[in-house]
Amino acid sequence: MSAARGNRAGRMAVNAAAYAVTVFLLLPTLIIAPMSVGPERLLSFPPKGFSMRWYAEYFQDAEWVRATLFSAEAGVISAVCATVIGTMLSLALVRGRLPGKGLVELLVIGPVIVPHIALAVAMFLVFEQLRLTGTLLGFAMAHTVLALPFVVFTVLAALYRFDAELERAALSCGAGGFRVFRYVTLPLIAPGLVSAALFAFVISFDEAVVSFFISDLDRKTLPRKMFEDIDYNISPTLAAVATMLTLLTIAALLLGYALKRGMERRARAAARQGVEP
């Protein structure tokens, strides 16, 4: 009896610890939102009033807006490139007989395990010589490489969930290799591809380290602009930007969650027509 009670007390302690950690995880980010609507230059919590002044300042500042648009552009391009390139590679890894597969797999995780500072400095060195610093092409290439590991793992997961027997069925129906992909594989892994693209966009849009080095004075990404502002003065405009970025992340996560639900529903539907184990 006392053991059971001790057990329950233990469980409650663990639960309490877990929820405390959740608060620790969320609080710093979420506390910025109310502070961003305070009217004073000195950020305070709780805010002393309500004002959209810092949001207005962001939208009226050409440099902020230009940096945001540039980041969005780089994000879209690298999301598309990373998704296409990553999907091709994933197909080769799962369905193909790729020579040197182990080495390729190591290269896939390369951009994650190699510290971004190392990559950033190395890219800076080479991009300077190739005149790629501060160019859209340079950012697109760099961010595509950084996003690829996440894209490949997302697409691999979608491919493993997909029943390869359906491809055989399509072949037996007379579809050739490309049409099997076009009509069967692609539609069924599409939600995975969209969420991969979403991840890639978020990675590019938030990427700070490489951007810090390969930006130049008039072409910089949003994170680089934020970095400069944080370094010089913690202005309330930053709080507004941070809040908007957090909202964007929430939206992206919700979208990703919806996609994942759709994919699972489909996988379940496909499993329902399978053999009972």
Partner: protein, 289 residues
């Protein structure tokens, strides 16, 4: 009739080696130009400029200033890993035993920070910790302290903020390992007479170990090369290797030395990865929960 006509889909299941290579080609090309070439150029710089030499590497270990930076980096990375592990365990455990809405909320609490910009999170810590920041304001209003404390630019602040930023990388692998342990195992262990501590030590911990290894490795690797948070929260006082590299490149323009520092970092990271190759699992961060 040829013995084996070329075909894209071999037996409907596999692409031929040639087709596979074709599909992998864009990736290989991009990785070669944007990943391998820059790293190779930088390392070449560290070993062959101005002449073939290991002098730059020797300098990193020889001068106390730099040695101190490297030791601090190592110390902070270890502290961050330990702190993250301690914080992550209860959360991962409760997540693995939750379902439905409860799980969704906990997962959201982990995924939202994971996908929120590191800059935003670091900025939040600065707002909280600076001299006239939220924490000092609150403590003063509560009468706990009279004058604002110096919180920013301390090693404690760096460890705290980095542990916060990297925590999701610890929680998710441990969660997916714990989720895989059927509750019956724990019940069975207890039926067989194991105490709570006994069933933890004999059943849960060994089965969770792959997840713990994976999480610790990810957090440690990321912490070693972390730039944004130490640069902003630690400042020049608490310089870590990434900040030192940046300084060498941007202020000293000493590429060979920066290359040597990167080389040291890479050897470390690569060795750890090869030892724990199976522990690097990105699927947990993109697909989990």
């Amino acid at each position: 009739m040829s013995r084996r006509p070329p075909r894209f889909l071999l037996g409907g299941r596999n692409y031929s080696p040639a087709a596979s290579l074709l599909l992998a080609a864009p990736f290989l090309l991009l990785i070669a130009v944007v990943f391998l070439l820059p790293l190779a150029t930088l390392l070449h710089e560290s070993l062959f400029v101005p002449a073939p030499t290991v002098e730059h590497y020797a300098r990193a270990f020889g001068e106390p200033v730099y040695l101190r930076v490297m030791l601090r980096t190592l110390r902070v990375a270890v502290l961050v890993t330990v702190a993250a592990l301690i914080l992550a365990w209860p959360l991962a455990w409760v997540m693995s035993r939750s379902r439905g809405l409860g799980l969704a909320l906990l997962a959201a609490a982990v995924l939202l920070p994971l996908w929120t910009s590191v800059l935003v999170r670091t900025y939040a810590w600065m707002v909280l910790l600076q001299r006239n920041g939220v924490l000092n304001q609150l403590l003063q209003e509560a009468g706990v302290i009279d004058a604002p404390m110096r919180l920013l630019y301390t090693e404690g602040a760096v460890v705290l903020a980095m542990a916060h930023v990297l925590l999701p990388f610890m929680v998710l692998p441990i969660y997916s390992a714990l989720k895989g342990i059927p509750e019956d195992y724990v019940r069975a262990a207890q039926m067989l007479g194991a105490s709570a501590w006994g069933s933890f030590r004999e059943v849960i911990w060994p089965l969770a170990l792959p997840g713990v290894t994976s999480g610790c490795l990810m957090v440690f690797l990321l912490a070693l090369g972390f730039f944004v948070t130490p640069a902003l929260i630690g400042g020049p006082q608490q310089m870590m290797i990434a900040t030192l590299v940046s300084q060498q490149v941007r202020e000293m323009l000493d590429w060979p030395f920066a290359g040597a520092l990167v080389g040291i970092l890479l050897i470390f990271v690569l060795a750890l990865t090869l030892v724990f190759k199976r522990a690097v699992r990105l699927d947990r961060f993109v697909g989990s929960a």
